[in-house]
């Protein structure tokens, strides 16, 4: 499946990537060559093989349910562009 320019524009938007006009052809080509590799791999017969969720042959260790973090709000907010009343401020979003 080859990507069209419009697909790339959509993917860039979803990923919030600001691609400049001049980058579009190159990016489309690069993505298509990656998908070409995927196509090649699709040809391999994987029936009966469990999908790999993680390359490590290990299972997740779980942690005990305990509060171990303390409040470091001052430190964390010292690098935020805007804060007020303990809240992080961002440009207005309304859904």
């Amino acid at each position: 499946m080859a990507l069209e320019r419009s697909d790339v524009e959509k993917i860039a938007h979803l990923a919030r990537l600001g691609l400049v006009e001049a980058d579009l052809p190159r990016t489309t080509e690069a993505l298509n060559s990656i998908l070409g590799l995927v196509d090649l791999m699709q040809a391999v017969d994987t029936s009966g093989i469990e999908p790999l969720a993680h390359p490590l042959e290990a299972n997740q260790r779980l942690r005990a349910d305990a509060v171990t973090e303390r409040n470091h709000r001052e430190a964390y907010q010292s690098i935020a562009p805007a804060v007020e009343n303990g809240l992080y401020l961002v440009p207005k979003v309304i859904d």
Binding site: A15, L56, Q60, R61, L62, R73, Y76, L89, V93
Partner: protein
């Protein structure tokens, strides 16, 4: 045209863990903004999520309680979208291999019939933070205390056919998670939130109609109202020749209508993929057995037991079993007071309306189960009548002590000495000589109402303390005589 309503629900329950699902931050509600947001919750680079064992245990508990298959090989996935209350740019959730598979839950409808509702799946995920749009001009305030709170999202089959059924299902889930102790069920604080998928189709049609999703409806009452108004909107739209468009809508309780959320032209594309930060989570059989052994008696079993053990109706039994606290209270009253039907009545009617009036839950009831049980004993042994019992109950609610103390202090002990009752009756009849004449002259048909007058006067004269059965009996013989 006859329309059939089809409803499926997605319920988000916040799990009652001490710490977050992937970090050691506290989950306490209502803390100062951003004081419970660690580097992991803030989505800082270089941090790693570590899964909370208790969240897994709680999800498994829920799965076992609804007879579901438990996913023993769990994979967490990233659900990608951009919103400021989700600083990582993705939510860690589960896609293909959820922890809870297909299960079911029985609900009791108002007419007492029991209906089985399918649960498609339930999966673990993290909650997002909160956006506050109102208080800042041109800006939105972000509080990330809630970010990373463990959620169990419970997805139902489209099995409900009315708003009432949907509410009954949400109530059943609410009761269940509280029974299991995995969620506090506080809807006002957002601990349990509901998205309603609603569609309509002509009765008899097999295919579903186009559905709309009403987001975040947060009370039982609003769920019913939101669904009903959305159903009406869809039917009117179709009958006027329009078409339902699949969209997300919000319910406005002030206007009692749903409206479309402003949404982007393109459909969401969450680009799920397995989260490389988390290894697969394997749930061993030994763990399942351990959790199974911890399961308490659940509402359906309790309902059946109440019916069998106490001879209660399906409806009474399911109301009493609907919360663990209420069921425990009821059983304690029965164990002291003895009479289960009387106990059921007092718990559901008098106590229920008192709690309603005070706006408190049963665990804060001003009358304890011991007090109520003690009072029922006094009804049973004829120390007080049912009418006086209401006074005693009120006095107990006002902190005047046990039933015996109230009866003693207020002199409410029922008079059963027939000599004393006769004395009261004689005085009363003498004071109402004219009515007595009329009664004796009246025919049988009219006497009934007139007799009631004398009973009323007698009870009034005895300040309600005369035993009503004796009053009836003695009055009859005196009037006839």
């Amino acid at each position: 045209m006859q329309w059939e309503v089809v409803i499926g629900l997605e319920i988000h329950t916040q799990l009652a863990t001490q710490s977050k699902i992937f970090s050691g931050s506290a989950t306490t509600f209502g803390s100062e903004p951003n004081t419970q947001a660690s580097l992991i919750d803030l989505g800082m680079p270089g941090v790693l999520p570590v899964l909370n064992q208790e969240a897994v245990r709680m999800a498994v508990k829920f799965g076992l309680a609804i007879d579901a298959e438990i996913g023993q090989h769990n994979v967490f996935a990233r659900k990608n979208y951009f919103y400021p209350d989700l600083p990582k740019g993705y939510q860690i959730s589960q896609m293909e291999l959820p922890i809870v598979g297909k299960g079911h839950l029985d609900i009791t409808l108002e007419d007492g019939t029991v209906k089985r509702i399918g649960v498609t799946r339930a999966h673990l995920e993290e909650d997002a933070g909160k956006s506050l749009h109102e208080d800042f001009s041109g800006a939105t305030g972000i509080d990330l205390n809630r970010a990373g709170t463990p959620l169990l999202e419970i997805v139902s089959e489209p099995d409900m056919r009315s708003a009432k059924e949907a509410v009954a299902y949400v109530k059943a889930i609410h009761a269940l998670v509280r029974y299991l102790g995995i969620c506090d069920g506080n809807m006002a604080e957002g601990s349990l939130r509901c998205d309603c998928n609603v569609s309509v189709r002509p009765k008899g049609q097999v295919e579903f109609g186009t559905r709309c999703e009403i987001k975040n409806v947060n009370s039982f009452r609003f769920i019913e109202k939101a669904i009903n108004s959305e159903v009406q909107r869809q039917i009117e739209l179709i009958e006027d020749g329009g078409k339902v468009i699949q969209q997300t809508r919000l319910y406005d309780p002030n206007k009692d209508e749903t409206r479309a959320m402003r949404s982007k032209e393109e459909a969401n594309d969450y680009r799920y993929f397995p989260d490389p930060d988390l290894l697969p989570v394997v749930i061993e059989n030994a763990f399942l057995d351990e959790v199974r052994a911890q399961l308490p008696e659940l509402p359906p079993q309790k309902r059946e037991r109440f019916q069998e053990q106490f001879g209660l109706s399906v409806y009474d039994a399911s109301v009493l079993a609907s919360s663990r606290e209420q069921a425990d209270y009821f059983e304690k009253v029965v164990s002291i007071g003895g009479d289960a039907k009387l106990a059921a009545n007092w718990v559901m009617v008098e106590l229920g309306s008192l709690l309603n009036k005070l706006g408190v839950d049963i665990d804060q009831a001003p009358v304890s189960a011991e007090q109520l049980g003690g009072m029922l004993l006094r009804i049973k042994d004829n120390t007080i009548s049912g009418k006086i019992a209401k006074m005693v109950f009120e006095a107990m609610a006002n902190g005047e002590g046990s039933a015996d103390e109230v009866i003693e202090a207020r002199g409410l002990k029922q008079v059963t000495d027939s000599g004393a009752i006769e004395k009261v009756l004689d005085e009363m009849l003498a004071a109402n000589a004219e009515q007595v004449e009329q009664y004796r002259a009246a025919d049988e048909a009219k006497r009934g109402k007139m007799f009631g007058f004398f009973v009323g006067q007698a009870m009034k004269a005895s300040k309600g303390k005369a035993n009503p059965q004796q009053v009836n009996q003695l009055l009859k013989s005196k009037l006839e005589g």
